[in-house]
């Protein structure tokens, strides 16, 4: 592609995965205990999308990356101190109380609106990136909903690989069961890609990149107005995924026997 892609990456923030996540009720909506106080990171699935976007942009001249994020802005600012060093992008912040329990429809709506209002965004070159899942509650539908709101019908979820073919069409590997991939060819943008883990390592921090990004990030954060989210979801109960550990030392058992026992143990859940 001669003049590159316009890649919009949608990424929320989530508590650092090492933190203790304890759901509590805040009014009628659940929340995580002390979530505002805990260090946050860019949602890891979406972060992979960002690294893939930066890599693609670096190899397709004329491309540009936007990072659209709905989050409490002061927390987003802290996260940017790290993320802004990893790739060149322009931040489109939305100051909203988005967290793992927010209604995915409302989140998708404000994200779609924000993308819609990015000036100079060329729909014919648009690749809408995000995570197919989230390290928060993971509704798993947000990217699809944004795509629908923006009327982009070519959608791929669980993407691990994205290749631009010589004719400009896109080859996309979507993760399916059994460690296998579904390979599709898409004629070109606009398209939605919900990334799984991709293939790229987390880029090292580079404060030079960070400083360059910050010139636009800080004013954008300062300008952003607080937005509320409608909540149409009612939660009856929430709990963090349970971790179980049962250790036993077994000898003289075949791999099949062990596998069968593991299967039985998993199916108890």
């Amino acid at each position: 592609m001669s003049n590159g892609y316009h890649i919009v990456v949608c990424a929320g923030i989530v508590p650092d995965p090492l933190q203790t996540l304890e759901p509590v009720m805040s009014g009628s909506t659940p929340a995580l205990k002390n979530e505002m106080l805990l260090p946050a990171v860019l949602d890891p699935w979406a972060a992979h999308a960002l690294y893939e976007a930066a890599n693609l942009a670096a190899h397709a001249e004329g491309s540009k990356v936007w990072l659209v994020s709905a989050a409490p802005k002061s927390k987003l600012q802290q996260v940017m101190m790290n993320v802004a060093q990893k790739a060149a992008f322009e931040l489109v912040p939305i100051d909203a109380p988005a967290n793992g329990f927010a209604d995915a429809h409302s989140v998708a709506e404000i994200l779609a609106q924000a993308i819609h209002s990015i000036s100079g965004l060329d729909r014919s070159r648009l690749l809408l990136f995000g995570g197919w899942e989230s390290a928060s509650r993971g509704a798993g539908v947000t990217m699809q909903l944004i795509g629908e709101q923006l009327e982009i019908t070519d959608q791929f979820q669980g993407v691990d690989r994205f290749t631009v073919l010589p004719d400009g069409s896109l080859e996309i590997h979507e993760r399916i069961e059994g460690g296998r991939h579904l390979v599709s060819i898409c004629s070109g943008p606009p398209t939605v890609l919900g990334w799984a883990t991709g293939n790229l390592p987390e880029p090292r921090n580079n404060p030079q990149v960070g400083m360059a990004n910050m010139r636009t990030i800080m004013p954008a954060l300062q300008k952003t107005k607080s937005t509320s989210l409608t909540q149409n979801v009612r939660y009856l109960s929430v709990m963090p995924p349970r971790q179980q550990r049962q250790t036993r030392i077994v000898k003289d058992r075949s791999a099949e026997e062990i596998a069968a026992e593991l299967l039985e143990w998993i199916s108890q859940e």
Binding site: D16, L18, Q19, T20, E22, P23, V24, M25, S26, G27, P30, A31, K33, N34, M36, L37, L38, P39, P72, K73, S74, K75, Q77, Q78, M81, N82, A84, Q85, R204, N205, N206, P207, Q208, G210, M211, M214, M218, S237, V238, M239
Partner: protein, 737 residues
Amino acid sequence: MATASAVERETLRALPSDASRQVQWGFADRYDLQLLVQSSRAVARGPVARLVAGGGRNSHEWTEAKAALLEAFDQAGITAVFMEPEEGGLFAGPKNFALALIAFELAWVDGGAATASLAGCLALAPIHERGTEEQKQHYMKLAAPTTPGEDRKPWRGAFCLTEPIPYVGVDTGMLNGKIRIVEWKTGEEPILQVEKRGRFITNIGFANFVTTAVDSDDERIKGSCMVILEEADPGIFDRGTPTRKMVHQLSSTGDPIFNLRVPASRIVGGYDVKDGVLIPRYSHSEVIEAVFRRTRVTVGVMTTAKLLSAVEPIIRYQRGRFRGADTATPGSVRYELGLQAREDALHRLVDLWATGEASASLGFAAARVFDELDPLEKEVEKLYAERGISGGKAKAKFLRGVADEAVTLMQLPRDDARRSTLLSDLRLRFVALDSLADVLCPAAKLWNTGWGAQMMREAVSLMGGYGITEDCPGFLGNKWMDAQLEATYEGPEAVQRRQLSVTMTNPVFLAQFREWIREMREVASEHPGTGACALATAMKLWLWTLDHLQHSKDADGGRLYQSARQGVTFPLADALCWLVAARCQIVDVLRLEKSGANDASLAEGLPGLVKFMTDLCNVQSARASGEVARICAELVFGYDRHPAWDEDGKRACWHEDELDALENLMPGINSYAIDVIAGDGSHPAKAGPCVNCAGASRFLSLHAKLDGCLTGSRLAKDRAADAVSKMMIPEALDYPA
């Protein structure tokens, strides 16, 4: 599932966030520094931690794995921080605070990694502070990290001052390194022969250049200087064998030998020629003074990081100590609190945390002061040049000219109109700030590392046997030992005490100190829980003691406050450090309370955080006051001779028969008299008659007042302990152990 109301109790809820530290330590408006913190942290908790966990500290040699860290530093922007943008640096302006933050982040995981990075800056510092423009440009560019596509290896440097025994150590004047002129053709640059042996020189295993201190061994060279040596210079550049050190093993240390020919243009800061004599523009001591007064702050902050990094692993250890035992079922005190059910375990942790906070506040305050001082110093240098003032003595005289006005400035109320007039005088502003820097730097180096090392031992203790194993999470055993090096290199404690014993008597500083007393009282009236009132009283006690010692003699008529009397001056310097650190801690917590409220990411949980931090201030102020009271009492009374049961002593006592006679006139007098000589001449069983404290009544009343000021400090400790037992911590440490 708990309800939110249970969460809303106003106590510390989680470990202080980055946002709160940015406000507390004064860099909330510096995103360049915030970026740098994140990139340094990623290196520290990534490659550095992996290397330590993988046993990288178990060799004295400079290994490839250790060398790889230097590249990681380059890529993370750490190496470039020391440089100006035109030299390949990250940002313009003073770098002290930035370097302190980097040291903090690296030493959070490993002190040796911090040293390896900072020793490069130390090597460049003589050139940066006193080098000629050409030297600066040349070496900064060589040392700047490469940019993508550039085919060059960045140069690394070492700073070589210390010499094999019996030469340079604490005493930097005992130079054995020599410099001679071996060739001096008319109209050309003289060629010098430099002979130097170094001891314990950091970075020597790989340094491409060395800045070294040498003395003249030639009547055609005047005095000492620093010279730059390069590995390719003709002659011997022998790196020596690696030092078998038990600390900071991720840095390279060795005892090099140099015997090299270099052009005279390598003299740091250049030289003049007068009557056929080469006169270096700066003596080695002038250069190292300019260097160390900055770099020592950074070292102080390294120990700080160790203390604060110990909090999380200790809490996790304490809480999980009994989990898994049959008797520790979920929900039981044993399961939920573990060792945190024990008061002493919590109290000691609170002490450790409070020390860490005070240490951070002092270290970062010092770094910020130097950032403020740097541009002023440059302006003053220009003034010297304009007025043709050169040489240490002439410069000092020039500055002394405004000392009285600086004292006046300190004493003026904050809203006094005369302040702005006085502050418009550059020289005066410089003198005022310089007097503060002169105290804060040695205080941060001395107290943070010295007392920090003691408290690291406490941290190790709290982990039990685990603490002194390689498996201890957070590498606490290593950190304990590493702290001892931080107390030693770049001037051991004696050097800092010696400096403080001079700078703390500067009238300009003392005027500022008096202002602090007023400030602390004011703080106390608005924030009574901070311990500021006790601190103000302790400050008064210290001031009284200093004045007393400066004007008193010992029992044999010897002057008490004088440089040779380190038994007097050094403890008083220690006492001052406690006060200065506790004050900085309070000032930072007040900033957190005031500015934190405007920060949305801090607003939630801020009251609890401030309450906890306030309690830590109170704990620390009480401890500081106690230390000051103990030191001052020893100094005030310790140099008087104790009365004995000799003729003089007995004369001052009551005699039994006198008392009996008086009892008829004043019934009950017998029970008031303490020192009574019996009819057979025997005396009470003690060292001598009690001391008459004439002349020290002001001291005694201040001391008694101070005791009372400690009221409530243990309640603050109890509250802090309770908070520590309830706060959330992450599930696991964010770096391997």
